[in-house]
Structures are given as structure tokens and as C-alpha cells.
């Protein structure tokens, strides 16, 4: 059986020179590539060929990167295993028999397997950091607004960012340098003043670094994961960092707040798939409501239907205040908690995922259990903050990732701290 890392293997040459010259880049299949099909891992977009490049793709090409293919993913980014893809699951190169994580599982696996030097993924609630942790590679979720989402097919647009994968912190930072920066096609981007490239921050120097450890993100985590995490913190202490425990009481509600917001946004964003302008169209007779409903029945898989329906429910008359408004309150509370914790620490650290990679097929039948596994990653998207997942070691031969979280637009410090663990 093939590893099934790519949905489409096609080479797209970049410019001759630039910071990515000589490097191969895998691109998640929800990031638009002009003339190369972009499926979102869905039957709905099985034959969709974008007429334009995402800004992140234009920048990779202009920087000299060679794109080698479009990677497998959970359908529309909805999953933590890459098993909800219409195109089948991807094997974890670092842990045979286990999932690569998701939703950007193909991108993480491409880097782990050496199919590409670096890769682009997208992170709505952990979709870069989870597969980075499970495949034993580096992944960065940038601050909301650092990287343009133009050409990223939307799922939860108030939460998501395109982010890089690599085998080293420095290579991930090099790709971040290329894709970061304001874009007049995405009004949520900001121009950020940086004196030096992110890649230059990968010095490994953590002398005097103050690390906060949110105790809530260790509660209930796998014992072997927690042990590996503390070993990594001890390693950072040996190099001159200090740590203290912090408490984020709002975190208890982060998963439910995240899923209410993400599903609500998904129900709206995915309303565009009606088979008229692009995408699967059902071969059926009937009025437009009947035809659209049949098209969407055939085009979407279970997890996508589940989230569209739950989002529709959460936004429907009589339930909006109960779910969506309360979720926005929780989001504001989570932001305040992080701001407070980061006023007394340079970075916050936790295991990226509370568990080692799931066995293949393990989580498919119980969606709620799968959502709960995102406990450590979703709060960061709610707070719009940057985070990096870096390999911290292994437990029983399975990769463990350590997550560092920083203040908004504090990517350089995360890169510097994470590079100390290499």
C-alpha cells in the first residue's frame, strides 16, 4: 500500500532564484494552485481546477520553491487524523499503523518521509500542529493576520492561518519568512515590522527565557506524553530557561467554544458548494433546492455533513444566543487568560497533543472523542496567537510534540525557543 501522501502529484516550478531555490514544497490541497486541481480532500471538489494561485503559493513560487504536489487532508480540514479524506487515509511515516494526525496529515507526512523539504498546511484548530506532533516534524501556526488567506478555501475563517512544516525549526522559519506579510486581497492581514528574518531567530539561545506551563493542558494527558514533555522542559532549564506553572481557567470551555464557532462558520462558508459554479453536481431532476440538497448529499462526507448541520443548528432561531453568543464570550475569556499568562512569561509550553498518534481507525466512530483530543491546540486559535510544535522525543517509540505559544506576532521568540530543542 502506498503512503497516500499526495492527492495530486504534479510539479510546479518556481522562479530560478530566491530563499527557497533548490527546495521542494508540498502544498495542502485546500490551498489554491492555478491550473492544478485543488480538492480539499472532498468528492465535492474532485475535479475543481482553480483559475488563480493563493497568495502563499504565488510567494513560494516567487521565492524559487518547487511545488511537488498537493497533499492529502481531512475533508475540508475537518478532522484530526486525515481519515475523513475522500481519497483515503495517509500512513504515518514516523509511526506505522498510526494516523499522521490532521487535518494537514499529508503535508506533515510529506516532510517526515522526505517527499518534500518543506510543506504548507492550514491550521483552524490545530491542523498544522497536530500532524507535526504525530509525524515528528516542526509546524507553525502563525498569529491570525500574519499570513494571507487569499486562495485558502475557507472552513473557519476567523480562526485559520496557513502555516509551514519542516524537519528543522530554521527551515520552517524560512518558509514563514516567504509567506508572511500584508496582502491587499486579505483585509485581515497586517504588515508586521521585523528587523531580521524569522530564520535568523533559530539560534537555540534560551538563556533567561521565562516559560509558563498551563496546568490545565497537562491534566488528563497520557503519562508517557507528560513525561516526555517534562524531560524537554528540563532540557530547556539546563540551557538557562526557567519555568513556572500558570492557570488558565477559561480553557475548560475552549473545546466547546471552538467547535461551536468553527461549525457555525463552516455552515456559512460551505453554503457556496451548490454544484452550479464549480464542484460536483448531481445528475438529478428537480427544483434548485432539491438539486442542491442532492448535490451536497453526494459531494460531502459524514464529518462535513455533521459540522454543517451542527453549525446550522447553532445559528438557527432560538439557539443563537445559547450557543454562538456564549461561544464568543468564551473566546474573549480565553484571550484574556492568555494575555494575562503571557504578561508574566515569555512563552507558554504544553504537550501539542495530549496523546500519542491514534491507531488507524480508532477515532472514526466517536466524533466527540476526536474533538476532545484537540484540547491543547484549539485555545490558541480562539486567542489568535502564534504557536509552534517541535519534536520533544518519543514515548513507546511514538513521536511527542511540544507546543510553545507566544504573544501576537511573537513568532521570532517561538522560533528561537523551539530551536533549543533540536
Amino acid at each position: 500500500m502506498s503512503a497516500n501522501i499526495f492527492i495530486t502529484e504534479e510539479r510546479i516550478d518556481g522562479d530560478d532564484d530566491g530563499p527557497l531555490a533548490g527546495m521542494t514544497v508540498a502544498v495542502k490541497d485546500n490551498i489554491s494552485t492555478e491550473g492544478v486541481r485543488t480538492t480539499c480532500g472532498s468528492r465535492m471538489l474532485e475535479t475543481y481546477v482553480p483559475p488563480y494561485d493563493a497568495t502563499a503559493v504565488s510567494r513560494v513560487k516567487a521565492a524559487g520553491g518547487t511545488i511537488v504536489g498537493k497533499t492529502n487532508m481531512d475533508e475540508f480540514g475537518m478532522g484530526s487524523t486525515t481519515e475523513t479524506s475522500y481519497f483515503g487515509s495517509t500512513t504515518n511515516p514516523a509511526a506505522p499503523g498510526r494516523v499522521p494526525g490532521g487535518s494537514s496529515g499529508g503535508s506533515a507526512a510529506a516532510v517526515a518521509a522526505g517527499e518534500a523539504d518543506v510543506a504548507l498546511g492550514s491550521d483552524t484548530g490545530g491542523s498544522v500542529r497536530c500532524p507535526a506532533a504525530f509525524c515528528g516534524v516542526v509546524g507553525i501556526k502563525p498569529t491570525y493576520g500574519l499570513v494571507s488567506r487569499y486562495g485558502l478555501i475557507a472552513y473557519g475563517n476567523s480562526l485559520e492561518q496557513i502555516g509551514p512544516f519542516a524537519n528543522t525549526v530554521e527551515d520552517a522559519a524560512t518558509l514563514l519568512d516567504v509567506i508572511a506579510g500584508a496582502d491587499d486581497r486579505d483585509a485581515t492581514t497586517r504588515e508586521v515590522e521585523t528587523d531580521t528574518p524569522y530564520a535568523d531567530a533559530a539560534t537555540g539561545d534560551v538563556e533567561g527565557l521565562s516559560i509558563g506551563v498551563p496546568t490545565e493542558l497537562l491534566d488528563g494527558a497520557d503519562e508517557g506524553v507528560v513525561e516526555t514533555f517534562w524531560d524537554a522542559i528540563a532540557d530547556l532549564e539546563d540551557r538557562g530557561a526557567t519555568y513556572h506553572e500558570v492557570s488558565l481557567p477559561s480553557i475548560e470551555h475552549a473545546v466547546e467554544a471552538y467547535y461551536v464557532i468553527a461549525m457555525s462558520e463552516a455552515s456559512s462558508n460551505l453554503a457556496r458548494f451548490d454544484g452550479v459554479r464549480y464542484g460536483h453536481d448531481a445528475d438529478t431532476e428537480g427544483n434548485w433546492n432539491e438539486t442542491f440538497a442532492q448535490t451536497r448529499k453526494e459531494g460531502f462526507g459524514d464529518e462535513v455533513k455533521r459540522r454543517i448541520l451542527l453549525g446550522t443548528y447553532a445559528l438557527s432561531a432560538g439557539y443563537h444566543d445559547k450557543y454562538y453568543k456564549k461561544a464568543q464570550d468564551a473566546r474573549a475569556w480565553v484571550k484574556q487568560d492568555f494575555d494575562e499568562a503571557l504578561s508574566e512569561a515569555d512563552v507558554l509550553a504544553s504537550p501539542t497533543m495530549p496523546v500519542p498518534p491514534f491507531e488507524e481507525g480508532e477515532s472514526l466512530d466517536d466524533p466527540l472523542q476526536m474533538y476532545l483530543a484537540d484540547a491543547n491546540t484549539v485555545p490558541i486559535n480562539l486567542a489568535d496567537l502564534p504557536a509552534i510544535s517541535v519534536p520533544a522525543g518519543e514515548t513507546d517509540g511514538l513521536p511527542v510534540g511540544l507546543q510553545l505559544v507566544g504573544p501576537a506576532f511573537g513568532e521570532a521568540q517561538l522560533i528561537q525557543a523551539a530551536s533549543a530543542l533540536e
Binding site: E256, V260, D274, N287, A293, K297, K305, Y323, W333, L368
Partner: protein, 96 residues
């Protein structure tokens, strides 16, 4: 909630109603499966009731630009992925 204590516990009829609003046809098996799963997931979402009201700082501001004519996708490119077109337009199903 599964005990029937709440009026909010989701039933098959509600799942069908939401599916209709969302324009997604479901099989009988899917309705059955989703009814059980939604009850469990929505019960979990109920814990949001414990969240206090929070003073939210407005983090969004309008970003304006002059309304100037710019290059955009040409008609051929815009129609390239459509299943059916007619005279340079998208062709959709009958409205009624």
C-alpha cells in the same frame, strides 16, 4: 440530557429540519446516526452556560480602500469549472 430532562434534546425531526435548512439530503440511516451523535455533542456544548459574560474588546476595524476598477478573473476563467453554462452565464437548476 439523554434522560429526556430537557426540551432541547435533539430528535430525528429536528435533524431533518436542520438538514433541510442546510440543503443536505440525508438517508434514514444518517438521520438515525446524527440524532444520537448530536444529542451527545450538544449536551457537551451546554457547558457553555457556565461561561460568564465577558467584556469584549472590539478587535475588528473596517479597512477601507478606494473603489477603483481593477483586473479580475475573465469570463472564461470564471466559467471554466461550471457544469453547465449558456451564453457566457452559469446555468443553474430550475427555481421551481
Amino acid at each position: 440530557m439523554g434522560s429526556g430532562m430537557s426540551d432541547d434534546a435533539v430528535n430525528a425531526e429536528e435533524v431533518r429540519h436542520v438538514a433541510e435548512l442546510a440543503r443536505v439530503d440525508l438517508t434514514a440511516k444518517e438521520v438515525d446516526q446524527f440524532t444520537g451523535q448530536f444529542a451527545e455533542i450538544l449536551e457537551y456544548f451546554e457547558t457553555l452556560d457556565e461561561v460568564p459574560e465577558v467584556d469584549r474588546e472590539p478587535t475588528l476595524s473596517n479597512v477601507m480602500r478606494p473603489d477603483e476598477e481593477r483586473d479580475s478573473l475573465d469570463r472564461e476563467g470564471a466559467l471554466a469549472n461550471a457544469a453547465e453554462t449558456e451564453d457566457g452565464y452559469f446555468k443553474g437548476p430550475n427555481v421551481s
